[in-house]
């Protein structure tokens, strides 16, 4: 069991049969009152959040949640198929779990898969992926003022807005959280 002194970001606890993770917490204590930890939890199954005041001395039940490093293999009918390289076990999860970032996933991309009671419930992508631009119109000369961008298609088929100087064949760094272009990367 955890108590309030164990509370930190990322702690996984079981409440009402659901796995929750701590996303924010703050120690609160009125001068003459009991101490609380004001804690915001996120439900790992549906993403809902709730805030609770947990009194010092109260206990929290750990959730049977574990993280495994896995490799993305391929997409299949709206599902993502990933493999645990240590034992070659494969797991299939709904692409909805990663949302829009699904189209940034390239074969062999390393991901972290979260399991609750042995069931895959979440897939975390690396924050940045590096993808080659396969199609993009050349930038129009003179149109360089401010933050002018143009669409580009990358090797996974995703479309990303990029600066005008990006050309077909460039490798670009993309933030999987925002689906946004970060920078051009020189090939090694």
């Amino acid at each position: 069991m955890y108590d309030t002194s164990d509370i930190r970001k990322g702690l996984k606890v079981l409440m009402d049969g659901n796995p929750w993770t701590v996303i924010e917490f703050q120690f609160v204590k009125p001068g003459k009152g009991a101490a609380f930890t004001r804690t915001v939890f996120k439900n790992l199954l549906n993403g809902k959040t709730k805030e609770m005041n947990i009194r010092s001395g109260e206990k929290l039940e750990p959730a049977n949640v574990d993280q495994r490093d896995m490799q993305f293999l391929y997409k299949e009918a709206g599902d993502l198929v990933l493999m645990d390289q240590t034992n070659y076990e494969q797991v299939s999860v709904s692409a909805e779990m990663v949302g829009k970032a699904a189209d940034l996933m390239k074969d062999n991309l390393p991901c972290t898969v979260l399991f609750f009671n042995e069931r895959a419930i979440d897939v975390a992508l690396p924050t940045f992926v590096f993808l080659e631009v396969t199609a993009s119109e050349p930038g129009v000369r003179g149109d360089t003022s401010g933050n002018v961008q143009k669409p580009a298609t990358v090797e996974t088929g995703a479309e990303v807005m990029v600066p005008l100087f990006i050309r077909v064949g460039d490798t670009i760094k993309i933030d999987t959280r925002t689906h946004e272009y970060v920078e051009r990367v020189n090939k090694q």
């Binding site: 703050q26 120690f27 609160v28 204590k29 001068g31 003459k32 009152g33 009991a34 101490a35 005041n53």
Partner: protein
């Protein structure tokens, strides 16, 4: 650029050198290493690994804002001492290591040696009042186990002051004037800046009773003498979840934290919250004109609970009864039970004049004066940095 001092770090051909005039960054000639004493371009004495670990910029360097905050803190402390000197208070230093720390139900002491570190210097300061001092103040460290948050450090600095033969109103005036003086000494103006907000701390500050605050901000009609079950029902009626067996004080604070605290934090002026219900009297005496409330106030500014004051309880019989009740509740809740301070009781028997006193968090006052968002920003080192 010349550099004279100790090399704190060398990285990528650049050295940080700390000398008499602060830190300078210079291009490092070959062979310079962290720890070397250098004068211009010559190594005066090479760092000898000997007995010391290599210097580390992470340990040796303080971020600029921290240095500024510590200068402001020193100014604030000087202003506090000047304030009390001008009002003819005597500065005292009572022991930090005591056999009986406070018995307050929600405070845990840090044990040390054969005793405990104080959670507040109030017991010994009251003995000084009983011994004949009329105006005393103290700035000292206090220790409260397990308290760690944006407004809490387990070791922190308290300002406490007491006036014999004075009423709580005089303490309110002291508090307003002290905060105003310290803020002016540090920032030159009468406003504190908290994020995007500006709060004027010029006296006098508005006052509200706890009962009115609960009514206004939580919609709860607080009597003060209702049963715990009645209060639980009232708290639930306004949509705050509390368990059936919640104690009176916990039900009160559930409502207070959910509704009143955020409302007070959002005010654009300081607030004196007075007339606390009798169950929360702690060491305060009951109000003569309304025994359902205690002579107690708290001062709030911009979400910071700055100070707590009592019209001091002087009746030894009542004091012993409250201590015994605190001990019993601590035992029931599985907390350490500290001994009653018999010498304090004896001092009350011999005669504590009618007095009023207050404890004000000095770190929090410095936070306000500097606009710091957390207590960590105004400490030399946090516990985690030791």
């Amino acid at each position: 650029m010349s550099a004279r001092g100790r090399v704190l770090a060398v990285n990528a051909g650049i050295a940080i050198v700390r000398g008499e005039k602060g830190e300078v960054t210079v291009a490092a000639p070959p062979g310079w290493r962290a720890g070397d004493l250098v004068d211009d371009l010559a190594v005066v004495r090479a760092y000898d690994a000997g007995d010391y670990p290599e210097p580390s910029t992470e340990v040796a360097r303080l971020p600029r804002p921290r240095i500024d905050a510590l200068h402001a803190r020193a100014k604030a402390l000087a202003a506090v001492r000047a304030f009390f000197a001008a009002r003819e208070f005597v500065e005292v230093e009572t022991p930090l290591l005591v056999p009986s720390p406070g018995l307050e139900i929600h405070l845990d002491a840090v044990s040390a040696g054969d005793g405990y570190l104080i959670t507040s210097p109030e017991y010994q300061m009251k003995r000084l009042l009983a011994g004949g001092f009329e105006r005393i103040y103290q700035v000292c460290k206090c220790f409260r186990a397990g308290e760690r948050g944006p407004h809490h450090a387990s070791e922190f600095t308290m300002i406490e002051w007491y006036r014999a033969y004075a009423e709580l109103d005089t303490i309110i005036e002291d508090t307003e004037a002290l905060v105003h003086a310290v803020v002016r000494a540090v920032s030159g103006i009468s406003q504190v800046r908290l994020g995007a907000r500006t709060i004027d701390v010029t006296p006098p500050w508005p006052r509200t009773s706890v009962r009115d605050a609960l009514k206004k901000w939580a919609g709860i009609d607080l009597k003060g003498d209702e049963s715990a079950a009645d209060l639980v029902a009232k708290v639930r009626a306004v949509g705050i979840a509390v368990a059936d067996d919640t104690a009176w004080d916990d039900a009160f604070f559930a409502a207070f934290l959910a509704k009143v605290d955020p409302a007070i934090a959002a005010l654009d002026h300081p607030l004196i919250l007075e007339d606390w219900p009798a169950p929360l009297a702690a060491l305060a005496r009951k109000k003569p004109t309304d025994p359902s409330v205690a002579l107690r106030f708290e001062a709030y500014i911009g979400g910071i609970e700055l100070a707590n004051a009592f019209g001091e309880l002087t009746d030894p019989v009542e004091q012993r009864a409250r201590f015994e009740s605190d001990q019993r509740i601590r035992r029931e809740r599985g907390r350490d039970v500290y001994p009653i301070d018999e010498k304090l009781i004896a001092a009350l028997v011999e005669g504590l004049p009618p007095s009023a006193g207050i404890a004000l968090g000095f770190d929090r006052l410095v936070m306000l004066a500097t606009g710091a968002a957390t207590i960590d920003q105004v400490l030399t080192f946090t516990a985690a940095e030791l």
